[in-house]
Subunit: 326 residues, 2 copies
């Protein structure tokens, strides 16, 4: 295996749906660094510091919803690589509003695929799936062959989206790579998205010297992965033919207890405190138990491995957050 060459992006037209969200914006920054010709499909222009507009200079902006075939048709034409990040996240939210999750995530995915089939069937799609497709009691670390058994409508629709992608590759040649991401965290979390990812939420709470709510003892292991590592995996998957038609776990491969993560944030921030509470029933029902990803498959295929340790990754996020507060 040789590491795919990211210099190839300088020749590529790339679309990022949901390109102004947490993961999307980090990806967009990285795509700018590799000189991709960039477009973003998003429902709204960001409410961010003014600097964003200059950052996004040169980016083509499609304002619209991923469920609207008219704007999606326009956006996919001519794209070499599409990162499909638009969607709705959250297990608990999806169980509370299953029809919304179906509409945004499943209908959105099929709308994009139908546009590609009709207008750009040789494109490549990279899709962030989730560790939440796996059920409880997986043998750890979990490989991609671990049985899937989602505990939420969100997880069910991620799994359906994976299957749509593999099907469209089989039927129409639309190439696809699926990344099952563990628990991502990192910078460019916008305030209006503060529920994306518990780590980012905890950083936010600690920096405001508030309580970090831990359900039960917080002993459950999680695999926290820095968004820069995730973005690297996405970039590699976007240009490596070896990644076509494949599903990869993307995580740190290291299990850290929920409580240890919270305590590390508090230590690094010098603020905040842990508050233990009983498990709320809706959270207990979607709790997967310990999870750690086996990432050897993406290592073998694409030469990817998470590079940022949780400790230094968190410190960087906290330092960045501190600057924003100044």
């Amino acid at each position: 295996m040789t590491q795919p060459n990211l210099a190839a992006y300088s020749e590529k037209q790339v679309l990022v749906t949901g390109g102004l969200g947490f993961m999307g914006f980090n990806l967009v920054r990285a795509l700018q660094e590799v000189n991709a010709r960039l477009s973003i499909l998003s429902r709204s222009w960001p409410e961010r510091p003014g600097s964003v507009e200059s950052i996004l200079a040169g980016v083509t902006f499609f304002k619209g919803d991923v469920r609207d075939p008219t704007v999606v048709d326009e956006a996919v034409i001519g794209c070499d690589v599409i990162f499909h990040l638009a969607g709705k996240s959250g297990s608990i939210a999806s169980n509370a509003s299953p029809l919304d999750d179906l509409d945004v995530n499943s209908r959105g995915m099929l709308t994009l695929l139908e546009s590609c089939r009709r207008l750009n069937p040789s494109t490549k799609i990279v899709f962030p799936s989730s560790r939440l497709v796996y059920g409880t009691n997986a043998k750890l670390p979990a490989t991609e062959a671990t049985p899937t058994a989602p505990l939420s409508v969100y997880g069910i629709h991620k799994l359906a989206a994976e299957q749509y992608l593999l099907l469209y590759q089989r039927l129409y040649g639309v190439r696809a790579s699926v990344l099952r991401i563990t628990n991502p965290y990192g910078p460019f979390q916008s305030p209006e998205q503060n529920r994306y990812g518990i780590v980012n939420w905890f950083v936010h709470e600690a920096m405001h010297d508030r309580a970090l709510t831990v359900y039960g003892k917080g002993a459950q292991l999680r695999d926290y992965v820095h968004v820069d590592d995730v973005v690297d995996a996405m970039l590699l998957a976007g240009v490596a033919p070896e990644a076509d038609g494949r599903i990869f776990n993307v995580g740190s491969g290291r299990g850290v207890s929920f409580l240890a993560m919270a305590e590390h944030i508090i230590r690094s921030a010098g603020r905040g405190r842990v508050k233990h509470v009983e498990w709320p029933p809706n959270a207990a029902l979607v709790e997967t138990g310990d999870f750690v990803a086996d990432t050897s498959l993406i290592g073998e295929c694409l030469g990817w491995k998470a590079a940022i340790p949780l400790e230094s990754g968190l410190e960087d996020v906290i330092a960045g957050y501190g600057k924003l507060m100044e």
Copy 2:
């Protein structure tokens, strides 16, 4: 294991969605024989011989679409058992119109589940899934543990529906049984539904002395199961607590080549002929290869086993069809 007692249905309020379709109507007849209090949710009153209206005397009729929460709410209240048969079938059709399949099958299923959660969370739902959730090259006969890998949007949505059901049982206590049915055939195929199931279609064509189109050599094995056997499995699953939260294969357990099935129909009908043609690309893409179900799980749990051999089953269907033509 003791065979569940179907006499229990005389105490039950039962809803059949899609109760006027091929499988639904066969099920409704059987539920009448066990004296269930019956209601049907269907989009339209059947275009059938007048006798149907007297057959359906005493049945409560909800006219509406399974995607309409208002009528679904009304229909689920007070039901002990719900057989959810409303939906759109067909692999090739689903690949041609994936968003339609999503809307009817996935949104329909979630709408029903949401009504049950809100208004009748202790009800029991029996759902006909399909062998089409399995992919190609399964080890045969295929057990329920065979990896799923649908070759069609239809199969993907069947799998998602299975997962919704298991999730709603876990989250809200709505009990569910899933039957992965192989290739059903039988009487009460209405003329406007003549594409439901290739066997019924072939009977129809043979009785009109037309050509039965076989793709390639027709050597692929199929597991043909008589709808009376399927209905028995549904009835058992509806009242057996052992079936709650379970997924069962429902098939004959016997592999018969596609060509042999066609030839048997022609012999029994004394009409029709085989016509071999090249595989059309859209059919080749969804072709699963040989399939035979292992049905030992439902045998162990519910004491069910297919009882009707293909040969005599086909002869009965053909005799019934002949009477209709008189």
